[in-house]
């Protein structure tokens, strides 16, 4: 960066120079650069009329004020942490959009999970009903085995054609052995 663009107008600077073999520092106010001469105009002190005194100063004698150097025997300076930079409107909007998107996704997943739960519950209910039906049928079948067999025998005997009955007289006899 060129030296002529370093300081802003009205910026407070330190003007350091040797006066009578003594290093002197003054706080001055920067006014303007003198283009091409390597010098600048600063103001320091006031005249009797209250007008700021203007001085022409070599640029190399100007510097920004620095924090004084700490003596070696003192502990290092403790700086308070810098406050975080405030969010811009764009950043806030971006954050909003991202978080709302996450929320929408979470809602979608919750809806899918709710549907899955409803389906699983329906399945369990159906299975329970099927199970109950099957068990009651089984109960009926197991408890009514003998009469059913007897009835079947009777029915088959009654339904058989006469020829068949004649032909299978022994069978008929066998079938009619049981209680009627």
């Amino acid at each position: 960066m060129p030296a002529t663009q370093r300081y802003r107008p009205e910026e407070v600077l330190t003007w350091t120079r040797i006066e009578n073999e003594v290093r002197t520092q003054r706080r001055v106010q920067f006014k303007q650069y003198l283009t091409g001469s390597g010098q600048a105009i600063v103001t320091f002190g006031h005249s009797a009329e209250g007008v700021a005194q203007r001085h022409t100063v070599p640029l190399e004698q100007l510097s920004r004020p620095q924090a004084p150097e700490m003596p070696w025997f003192l502990p290092a300076r403790i700086e308070p942490p810098k406050p975080p930079t405030p969010l811009t409107e764009g950043e806030v909007a971006e954050r909003f959009a991202a978080r709302r998107e996450t929320l929408a996704q979470a809602h979608d997943e919750a809806k899918a999970a709710r549907d899955a739960v409803a389906y699983a519950k329906e399945l369990v209910e159906r299975a329970r009903k099927e199970f109950e039906t099957a068990r009651s049928t089984l109960l009926v079948l197991t408890s009514g085995t003998k009469p059913t067999c007897k009835t079947l025998r009777r029915r088959s005997a009654a339904a058989s054609p006469p020829r068949s009955r004649l032909k299978t007289a022994t069978t008929e006899d066998t079938l009619s052995v049981g209680p009627r």
């Binding site: 405030p86 969010l87 409107e89 929320l103 997943e109 699983a120 369990v124």
Partner: protein
């Protein structure tokens, strides 16, 4: 039956996880809302600070040496002299009362109103 019941329990667990995720995401949205309101507060306080500085400048203005500074009322002078009372601000509204609209907002977000915002009703 046991297999079906096992699957139902598994689905229930997944639902619980999903509902927890919804709540977490809704809280994140509420945090973003609070961030936005804080930035609004920052702008208001910045404005108040500049306003106070301007009035302090006016209060210390001497139009001429004979009449001295402009005469402010005592109330105005006390207001300008004293910094904002932050301790009183903490006691002005109970935490329970101040979180009511935020709780309602969280409820709306959890119930599925993804675009819920304070708007003008806060």
């Amino acid at each position: 039956m046991k297999r079906f019941k096992g699957e139902a329990v598994e689905a229930d667990n997944r639902l619980n996880t999903a509902v927890a995720a919804v709540r977490k995401a809704a809280l994140q949205v509420v945090a973003a809302l609070a961030d936005r309101e804080c930035e609004l507060l920052r702008q208001i306080e910045e404005h108040a600070l500049r306003y106070r500085a301007e009035l302090l400048g006016v209060a210390s203005w001497w139009p001429d040496a004979a009449t001295g500074p402009i005469a402010l009322s005592r109330a105005a002078a006390v207001l300008l002299e004293a910094p904002p009372d932050w301790d009183r601000a903490r006691l002005m509204v109970s935490m329970e009362k101040s979180t009511v609209p935020w709780k309602a907002m969280l409820k709306r977000l959890v119930q599925g109103d993804v675009e819920a915002d304070f708007g003008l009703q806060k």
